[in-house]
């Protein structure tokens, strides 16, 4: 069964923290730190407001985060994959922004 958006967001924060601690590249750490702040900010919004789980944007965001988290799990064991993880989190953040816009408009 798929995780909820809250669970995926929580896993993202945990995974990004782990990568920031492991990554030696300063620039990658900087990008991960910015992404983590954006994801934390979105999680804050979803704590404050109830999000309709039937929205297609909800499923798309949860799915994109799931893919990014899967990549992050691999990157924790192989730091060469951090760049790919950053790309996947960037795509997930776009999906989160679309969901946030939908929720704000509702």
């Amino acid at each position: 069964m798929d995780n909820t958006l809250g669970e995926e967001l929580s896993a993202s924060l945990t995974n990004i923290t782990a990568l920031i601690v492991k990554t030696e590249s300063k620039s990658q750490r900087a990008r991960l730190t910015r992404q983590q702040a954006q994801i934390a900010g979105q999680l804050q919004v979803f704590i404050d407001k109830t999000v309709d789980e039937t929205l297609s944007e909800y499923r798309a965001a949860a799915s994109a985060l799931n893919a990014a988290n899967a990549e992050a799990e691999k990157a924790k064991g192989n730091l060469d994959r951090v760049a790919a993880t950053i790309k996947k989190f960037a795509a997930a953040i776009d999906q989160l922004a679309a969901l946030a816009a939908k929720v704000a408009a509702a």
Partner: protein, 293 residues
Amino acid sequence: MRRAYSLAVALLLLTGCALSARQKAAVSQFSDSAATLGDVTSSQLKAMRDGTVEMTKQRLLLAGRSRDANLGDQTSLDRGFEVSHVETVSGAAQALAAYGKSLAALVNDSQSAELQAASHDLVASLGRVPEAKEKLSDKQLEAIGTVVQEVGGLWVDWKRKEAVTTIVREARPVVDRLCDLLARDFAPRTGWVALQLQVIEDPLVAEATNVLYDGRSYDDRKRASDAIDLVHGNRMRRTEVLKRVSDAAAAMKKANAALAQAVESSAWSAQDIQAFAERAQSLRAAVKIIVKE
């Protein structure tokens, strides 16, 4: 002679109408556990709020302006644990504690003033929690408040039993509801408390790690180390306290059902009340270990 016999029979009948030693023990164990759960949860929420303010300050000190507008900043240091929010959840926990304390006062032969105070506190606590008011009619609230006022005089043991029975019966829907709410809010992976703490903790770990790795002086690294230490203390609450509160609240709901049976019939099991006592004890012990003076 005949009068003495009648008195003896009356006393025997009255004794039979009082709570048995086993029933008193069950109520006592339950009430202590409820007071522990309510008081510890309430104090931990306050500690989480204080921790939130400190962690947000540390993040701003280390990294400057918030990187995301939805995160706390210098104008919202307590973001996520605002007073009104904490007050509501803490009110629910305090209502459970007041429920336990009023039952304890009834079975521990407390003096009238102590009983009245516990009863007033219970009625006031229940009245303050919106979710409790939804589940409790004014008539039920009045019954809970009135029954303790009547404890006293020659029939004191019988009246104590009646008061315990009335409070347990009338408060049961609302106590069950409050237990559900605490179990949900403190659920370790999905409850709002866990997610809220993570929103505050993880960005601070990130900023502190960057300063620790990139800092050029001992003072830089010391600031980062202090922030990491602060997060560590607060993270212990997330990993150790939340699950125990959630488990204890779920156990209290089961124990409350067992308690309702215990005071109304002779056939009941102490198993659920014992299980609740163990979880409340575990919560108290964990908090003692993690709290730094």
